[in-house]
């Protein structure tokens, strides 16, 4: 792999290799990550055109645990505002002898675009582009699922929430399909459901109770407040009533179902505090695993 842009085109072997490599970075305690010298002397630039806390900081930590030098640029407020094009920003940074870019951008296709214009030998990791893809998030979710459930082939997975705007959901669906999940269900108000999503191999539901019934993995997506504008939803209250993940609804799933969320969570909007902090929640483990999974992707791109 030269770049890591989407989970869509990856093979089962590639996905499994990422998960296995991530596993090798995890300590015996199952959570913490040891420091290794794999990327010593390499320079990685976090290029964030859009705000992020979790993703940016776990990429930083992952790079540091691999002994790379990492520089984080929050570009939202600097160069592009001055009219510099995305490509000029890239060229300027390339001149600083960078080995790898980690890119987050509000436009779908931005990471792909940059990967087509980087010099040979430089890798691009997509840390979220518009509504298109967020492949490292999807891989840390797969890692979390595998750690809890072992294998994918018997799993029913339900994704609840704003699929229309979600790059995370798209990347999860591609990864789950390739890893062989038995059933992928998606449920959302129809205003937040992308057209023809079923063609990606998922079952589309209108009713959250039906979608959760007997499921093994529940993934809740963040609902952004802006969605009340543009007539996508009437109110947060009605959304929570219809789609909010409550203890009663979690009880419809398999007894040992896990509850996941890519963060940051809106308590009382898409998920109740009792579920977010409850026994079945693995939301904080997802964050921890994010470091090992991002280390795996970075080291594999560097040919290690």
């Amino acid at each position: 792999m030269q770049h890591f842009l989407t989970t869509e085109s990856l093979t089962l072997d590639q996905l499994t290799a990422i998960l296995d490599t991530a596993e090798s970075f995890i300590n015996a305690d199952g959570l913490s990550v040891k420091k290794v010298p794999l990327l010593r002397g390499k320079t990685i630039v976090n290029l964030f055109f859009e705000a992020s806390t979790r993703t940016r900081s776990t990429f930083e930590l992952a790079a540091k645990r691999l002994s790379a030098d990492i520089l984080t640029m929050n570009i939202a407020a600097s160069a592009t505002v001055k009219g510099e094009s995305l490509l000029d920003t890239l060229r300027n940074l390339e001149a600083m002898h960078v080995d790898m870019f980690v890119v987050r951008h509000q436009d779908s296709g931005a990471a792909e675009f940059l990967s087509q214009h980087t010099s040979p030998g430089i890798s691009v990791i997509n840390a979220g582009d518009g509504r298109h893809a967020h492949p490292t998030q999807a891989m840390l979710d797969m890692f979390t699922i595998r750690r809890h459930k072992g294998t994918f082939d018997q799993l029913k997975v339900t994704i609840v929430g704003d699929l229309l705007h979600s790059r995370v959901a798209r990347s999860q669906i591609h990864a789950l399909r390739t890893l062989g999940a038995k059933e992928i269900r998606v449920v959302a108000p129809r205003t937040l459901m992308p057209t023809q999503l079923e063609a990606l191999g998922v079952d589309v539901y209108d009713n959250v109770e039906a979608a959760l019934s007997g499921t093994d993995v529940i993934i809740t997506l963040r609902l952004q407040k802006e969605r009340m504008q543009g007539a996508l939803l009437p109110s947060e209250r009605e959304y929570f009533q219809l789609f909010g993940l409550t203890s009663e609804r979690v009880a419809l799933a398999a007894k040992d179902a896990i509850v996941m969320h890519p963060g940051p969570i809106n308590r009382g909007v898409e998920i109740s505090s009792s579920v977010a902090d409850g026994e079945q929640s693995v939301i904080l483990q997802q964050v921890s695993y994010g470091i090992a999974v991002r280390m795996a992707v970075m080291s594999m791109l560097a040919g290690q």
Binding site: S85, D129, A133
Partner: protein, 425 residues
């Protein structure tokens, strides 16, 4: 200068000519076909054995400037690209910078064309001031200055009342409204057809209803106002059905389609390739099939290029942020010939849609080889195969969704007003 073209296969749909014969022309006019004029002695004799001779193409939707800038240099390059592709009459759309919304601006473009153009250039003027969609342009002055129609191009109108007023006013001036149907709210900043490709790439989709809803409203207003409306750049099969029905009920309407809409759909878009960022967007495979089936319907009186040349920079960004449109003059005739190759149209039908039919709608002297008509014609080799490569394109814009594709049929010579305007080197 007296010129005779010998032995070409002449295809002139208006006059129902489809045979190998000789064309005689002099002083910028066609004199006769077959029989030489009395006392004929040619100054120049061209043997065109193996070539087809057709009237010069009429392209009813093109732009002359890079990314909308109309400059002398680009008028020269784009009209040269036109004649290299057999196009001898080109209609410039008003969405340049500045917008062609006043007689002064129209005359400015005409002056530049007069000194730099390689073919005839006509102008469709803006329907509203600055194409902003709210105030009517001075249509009477624009008509006086020579515009051949008015259009909103890719700019929606503020509301249905503006559309009604624009129709009424244009009709009163005897101007055809070239209406590009789009509902701005339903379009919602989309950049691709709403469908699986949009879902996969996470791009905002434009639903078919963005077109059909606007067509429906427009038809209702045509019934009310009796305006003469031409529906420009259709993309959905449903809209075509609506127009066919309205036409059969007697409404005075017509339509065109951009050539690329007859060959590509959204499934064909390689991941985020900005050469496929077009408006209206490439629709679904079903719409593509529907448009191809409907192209022989009399509602269609033109196939156009919708040529939009851009600098390299205009497409150097993530898909949605790139400029809309592609360079298309040089693929117009080859794509139209492909419709014949694929048995969707006869050669006469296909050539009619890029010659006399659009010329009649625009009411211009073009599109046929009738004795007395201006001697605009194109000679092409129907058998020669070639590959579209950016480096070979004559247009200053090098973006096309057909780059790398094989085409059959190559223009060899183009005459504009009886003069050789292009000859393949």
């Amino acid at each position: 200068m007296k010129i005779e073209i010998l032995n070409s296969h002449i295809c002139d749909p208006l006059n129902d000519i489809d045979r190998v014969d000789t064309i005689y022309m002099a002083d910028a006019k066609i004199l006769s076909i077959g029989e030489p004029p009395a006392g004929w002695q040619a100054d120049q004799s061209i043997d065109a054995s193996g070539l087809y001779c057709i009237p010069g193409l009429v392209d009813i939707a093109a732009r002359l400037g890079n990314s909308g800038q109309t400059q002398q240099k680009s008028i020269s390059s784009e009209t040269h690209a036109a004649v290299s592709a057999g196009i001898t009459s080109l209609v410039c759309m008003p969405d340049s910078n500045p917008v062609i919304d006043s007689a002064a601006q129209l005359e400015y473009v005409q002056q530049h064309c007069h000194s730099s153009s390689h073919c005839h250039v006509y102008v469709i003027a803006a329907l509203t001031t600055g194409l902003k969609g709210d105030m009517l342009s001075e249509m009477a002055a624009l008509k006086q200055a020579g515009c051949v129609g008015v259009s909103n191009v890719m700019h929606p109108l503020a509301n249905n009342l503006v559309l009604r007023r624009a129709m009424e006013y244009a009709s009163g001036q005897g101007l055809t409204l070239h209406y590009q149907a789009m509902d701005p709210a339903l379009q919602a900043n989309g950049c691709i057809n709403e469908g699986l490709a949009a879902t996969r790439m996470g791009l905002i989709g434009i639903p078919n209803a963005g077109e059909t809803a606007a067509v429906g409203v427009c038809l209702a207003l045509i019934e009310h106002t009796g305006a003469r409306v031409h529906f420009a750049r259709l993309s959905t099969q449903r809209a075509v059905h609506m127009l066919e029905l309205a036409h059969s009920e007697g409404l005075n309407i017509s339509a065109d389609v951009a050539a690329h809409q007859l060959f590509l759909c959204d499934d064909d878009i390689p991941a985020f390739d900005p050469n496929f960022h077009l408006l209206p967007p490439l629709r679904s495979a079903d719409d593509l099939a529907g448009l191809r089936q409907a192209i022989s319907n009399p509602i269609f009186n033109a196939i156009c290029s919708d040529h939009q040349p851009h600098d390299a920079d205009a497409k150097l960004a993530p898909f949605a942020s790139t400029k809309i449109g592609a360079s298309a003059l040089e693929t117009l005739l080859p794509l139209v010939l492909r419709l014949v190759e694929e048995d969707l149209l006869s050669l006469q039908q296909a050539i009619a849609l890029v010659t006399y039919k659009p010329a009649q709608m625009l009411n211009i002297d073009a599109g046929s080889l009738t004795p007395g008509a201006t001697a605009d014609l194109c000679l092409f080799d129907p058998k020669q195969e070639w590959t579209l490569q950016a480096s070979d394109m004559h247009s200053r814009g090098k973006h096309s969704p057909f780059l790398g594709q094989r085409f059959k049929g190559k223009v060899k010579h183009t005459f504009v007003s009886g003069k050789l305007a292009y000859s393949e080197s």
